[in-house]
Symmetry: C2
Subunit: 307 residues, 2 copies
């Protein structure tokens, strides 16, 4: 069984690749860049440099695919709102081109898509958020994730492409770069390691859902073989953690206090966002295995190697 | 008060233009073609030939806008499924360009958008369909309408653009061309007038919601001045009509029987789709005024003038 990971050289791609290989797949990466440093992704059978949406450019080179994990994304919530057109052109149009390209293949692979449990639901009407919670995205990033979900459902009904959607909470862990605009744990941990203050909006009571990236990898491996009727699964850490708790955890691990810079609370931040993961537990027989404190410790250790 | 209708030269655009003019607006059309024949749209203060999405190309010529009615669409459900990429490129990307162009104007107009009550809900869980019914579009056309709705909500929350969405059922009436792939009443009526058989899938019991196009015009005029909190309104005829009832109505009006060609039922056609219009009645103080038999008679009279 061959698995092609679109975006296989990135932070999440590496965790998913390792989990898929451990689960018995021959794993390929299609990405715009190589997994670096060289030799650091021994689970990969091969890498193709290219656009995920241009199926003919990678399909034959990989030898086809039984399962495709689509992690490639050109945006994060902030950049999608700044330029919704670019978000649509790369992520939505890219997905439609991918579907078109797969339709042309003799055998349809199963397509696993990384959606966003933090973005597609919008402001929670109740917590934890189940998969049947209304989907009212508050930004362009979530709107694009949601319409892609609809197109996957439509594609299966019209053309038979099998798919599963994993709505991820906030993945974190080793290989997450600390210099982006996403990934509060990586950003905080790296700044704390370098004696820099942490930016907090409001009183730090905002609660979010974090899931260790290797657990996300195992969820994709389970979804690759799932045989039930469900198509959409929340994948989260199973509990919420406040910004204050993240900082306290870092302080404990570092053995010293960390400076905070406090800014006014942002009214568009919902106070709590935690995913209900019962469906994934029941149907994928999956659950998170890395406890929060352990995950933060692992992320911190890896970040010590990052300048 | 100035109203610019994007797609003002088309079937629905003419009805909306007349209603907006009757409601006191100075009405302009932005469309790829002119209203024909010349002089046939006396309610228009002016016409600009151009792409609706390219705001600078028409904004100054129209003298700006207090209200924009966006009816321009390059697809119908069947063509959107055949080419979802083109549907996204013209309708979604076009809307995002429109929003971007409006953001640049000093005063934000109110944007009224024609969405689809037949496409955004998907298979009805209960009938009639209220605005809070889950939105599970069965095709690319509905997926694009739905994501545009989300982007309008997001645009208002991030940039303050006021908007209203009218989810139309099946508009019909004079000026609807009988040679398209949409508009069963126009197609049936025109074929019946010319002694051609009518194509029926299944036993003709499928029920749909039809709304006379002049009533749709009045709904837009009401939405232009609506002051409440609601943003989304169903606009339908208030009752369902089966395919058999359409044919019987035509037979009564024509005074003779009409031949049918019966094909197997299509499994993807939901048996019933009727919109609940209570919200529009209560908040827009709008209701359909043209009874079904009268509307079909008017459509038939106009179609006598079409070769």
């Amino acid at each position: 069984m061959r698995c092609v990971i679109l975006g296989g050289a990135g932070f999440l791609g590496r965790h998913v690749g390792r989990a898929m290989a451990a689960s018995g797949f021959e794993v390929w990466s299609v990405d715009l860049s190589r997994a670096v440093p060289e030799g650091s992704a021994p689970w990969l059978a091969g890498e193709v440099l290219g656009e995920f949406s241009d199926v003919p450019s990678w399909w034959e080179q990989c030898g086809g695919a039984d399962v495709i994990v689509h992690l490639a994304s050109s945006t994060v919530p902030a950049t999608a709102n700044e330029d919704p057109l670019q978000d649509v052109q790369t992520n939505l149009v890219g997905m439609l081109r991918l579907l078109q390209g797969l339709r042309a293949q003799a055998k349809q692979p199963r397509l696993l898509f990384a959606s966003s449990g933090g973005a597609v639901y919008g402001r929670p009407q109740s917590v934890p958020l189940g998969e049947t919670h209304p989907t009212v995205p508050m930004g362009a990033y979530g709107a694009t994730k949601l319409v892609i979900e609809h197109h996957l459902r439509i594609e299966e009904s019209l053309h038979g492409l099998p798919y599963r959607i994993l709505r991820l909470s906030n993945p974190y862990g080793e290989w997450q770069r600390p210099h982006g605009v996403q990934g509060v744990i990586a950003v905080f941990a790296h700044r704390a390691l370098h004696g820099l203050p942490l930016d907090v909006w409001g009183d730090g009571s905002v609660v979010r859902d974090f899931v260790y990236a290797s657990d996300v990898g195992h969820a994709f491996a389970a979804a690759a073989r799932h045989a039930g009727e469900s198509r959409v699964f929340n994948v989260g850490g199973g509990a919420g953690h406040s910004v204050n708790h993240i900082i306290q955890t870092l302080e404990q691990l570092l053995g010293h206090a960390v400076e905070r810079r406090v800014f006014p609370a942002r009214p568009f931040d919902p106070p709590v966002n935690v995913l209900d993961i019962q469906r994934a537990q029941a149907e994928l027989h999956w659950k998170p295995t890395v406890a929060f404190e352990e995950g933060v410790a692992r992320a911190l250790e890896w970040l010590r190697t990052v300048p």
